[in-house]
């Protein structure tokens, strides 16, 4: 069943068009990878799925994005609820200037969890989930800004897991991670797939082929091709895709 259906999505920054009539459907409990050269619009596309793009001035969006059949750009959409359901990990780690614990507890707290014990549990589980627990268990109450780049990124993933969204948008979640953390995150994705719908931007084609069911290739704001991952990497339909995959591009 299709969880997310995007139809004819156009997006403009001022008068520069960043997404050109994108149509794409993403199935429930599946992983979709977005690949493409830097600046082709992957982040932009991702951010328009939970209306993060609303925050940038001068952005114009045309077309439709339906989640569970509901147009998220309809006037009566509850954006807050939307964003709780559609969680996001950003390209650059962005922890709050709070303690490690408070960063992870933030989501549950705002959604009404006040019980100390439950919070402790959630924080621990989420940090385990993001493969960070061992490194921070002794400094839970120190500032998150003192973590290394990769630690910060995993913290952001833990923070997201703590709110248990239905859809996970991940913008290069492992680009700052070492292979071992990366592997753990990939394992996590494989596990989460059973419950969540996941869309992941990655520059690493091995990663795309390891974790995703389907892959979409973007170029210059256009969706060139979308297919089952193994097909796309072995028998791409389009010349441009082939060029990109084989590194013969540009």
């Amino acid at each position: 069943m299709d969880k997310i259906v995007v139809s004819n999505l156009d997006l403009f920054y001022g008068d520069q068009q960043a997404l050109k009539t994108i149509s794409l459907a993403m199935a429930e409990k599946s992983v979709t990878a977005l690949i493409g050269p830097s600046g082709c619009g992957k982040s932009t596309f991702l951010r328009s799925l939970n209306r993060m793009q609303d925050l940038i001035p001068n952005v114009k969006i045309l077309g439709q994005v339906r989640i569970d059949g509901q147009d998220i750009y309809a006037d009566d959409t509850d954006v807050v609820l939307l964003r709780k359901r559609v969680g996001m990990v950003f390209q650059n780690p962005n922890p709050f200037p709070k303690s490690v614990f408070e960063n992870v507890a933030y989501g549950p707290r705002i959604h009404g969890e006040a019980d100390k014990k439950r919070l402790n549990e959630i924080v621990e589980t989420s940090l385990h989930g993001a493969a960070l627990w061992n490194e921070v268990k002794d400094r839970l109450h120190k500032s998150a800004l003192g973590l290394s780049g990769g630690q910060q990124q995993r913290l952001c993933i833990a923070r997201l897991l703590a709110v248990e969204p239905e859809i996970l948008l991940m913008d290069e979640p492992t680009s700052a991670l070492d292979p071992i953390s990366t592997m753990k995150i990939e394992e996590l994705i494989a596990e989460l797939k059973n419950k969540y719908t996941i869309i992941i931007v990655t520059h690493n084609m091995y990663q795309a082929s390891r974790v995703s069911d389907r892959t979409a290739f973007f170029l210059n704001g256009e969706l060139i091709e979308e297919d089952v991952t193994s097909n796309l990497f072995t028998r791409p339909a389009m010349k441009k895709t082939e060029d990109y995959i084989s590194g013969r591009f540009g």
Binding site: L55, L82, R83, F90, N94, E102, H111, R159, V163
Partner: protein
């Protein structure tokens, strides 16, 4: 090339020395003023007992009685009043401007707050005297309407621009990622504001509140017009009393420099400084304790 490099380094060093000397100069000036006020003030104690000065509310310089309790209580009272009213209102204004206001509203309100800052205190005092005092007299059934309430309201309005502009700047200079991160977790705008943005901007907001408080406790002309200036210990919010500043400005000009009376007024300025110091430290620790966790 070498010549240029020497020049660049020279500039760097020069600017550093200039900054250091500015800091030294400022420190010296501060020291001078504090020393001057302190020296002048402390010579009061040659004639007056320390205990009397702080615990008595009997201010009758002609008969050698210098009890400043009334003024100390008045100053603390009006300042707290001003912060209690003006602090939250100003912070609300700042949050509104930084996070909520549509552009057109911001375009009106931001310059408007700057204007507030430019209105002379005499004008505030006059509006206080003619509008606010009358209003308080009628609505509280006090006989004159002068008092801490009137002064507090006038001061609350006067500190608004300080609180608003400085807090708004602090909020605006936060990286956009905090906002994004919180909203992406499904937080409402208000949750984002009070759990992430305001705590993150706290140092700037603190500075705003402290400078506002400083302005409130040190404000003279406007307070003096609406406080009533009777040397009576603060007993109700709507009966005339005095503050340190109002009494200083009322009596400073007409007391001979070097006389005990005049020295006592300087001592009162010094106390003002000490009260401010204590309040600043209190605000800092209180807000830090309360919000960062």
């Amino acid at each position: 090339m070498h010549h240029r490099k020497a020049w660049v380094y020279f500039n760097d060093r020069l600017s550093r020395y200039l900054f250091i000397s500015s800091a030294v100069l400022v420190s010296l000036i501060i020291l001078c003023i504090i020393w001057f006020v302190g020296m002048q003030g402390f010579s009061t104690f040659r004639q007056v007992s320390v205990i009397d000065f702080f615990t008595s509310s009997k201010w009758s310089p002609d008969s050698g009685q210098f009890g400043a309790l009334t003024f100390i209580a008045g100053s603390i009272g009006t300042t707290l009043m001003a912060i209690v009213i003006g602090g939250p209102l100003g912070l609300a204004g700042a949050v509104f401007l930084a996070e909520i206001a549509p552009p057109w509203m911001r375009a009106i309100m931001r310059p408007a707050t700057d204007l507030f800052a430019g209105i002379p205190s005499v004008v505030y005092g006059y509006v206080g005297l003619t509008v606010i005092v009358g209003f308080i007299r009628k609505s509280t059934n006090s006989s004159t309407g002068y008092g801490v309430l009137a002064a507090g309201i006038v001061l609350a309005i006067m500190i608004l621009p300080t609180v608003i502009s400085l807090s708004e700047d602090a909020l605006r200079s936060l990286p956009g990622t905090y906002n994004e991160a919180s909203l992406a977790l499904g937080a409402t705008r208000w949750q984002t504001i009070h759990r992430v943005l305001v705590p993150a901007a706290l140092p700037g907001i603190l500075t705003a509140i402290i400078l506002a408080m400083a302005r409130a406790i040190g404000e003279t002309m406007a307070v003096q017009m609406v406080i009533g200036n009777s040397p009576r210990l603060l007993s109700s919010l709507v009966s005339p009393t005095s503050t340190l500043t109002s009494n200083i400005v009322m009596e400073m000009g007409n007391t001979p420099f070097g006389s005990t009376w005049n020295n006592a007024l300087f001592l009162m300025s010094f106390i003002l400084l000490i009260i401010a110091l204590v309040l600043i430290i209190l605000v800092r620790t209180a807000v830090r304790k309360g919000a960062v966790r």
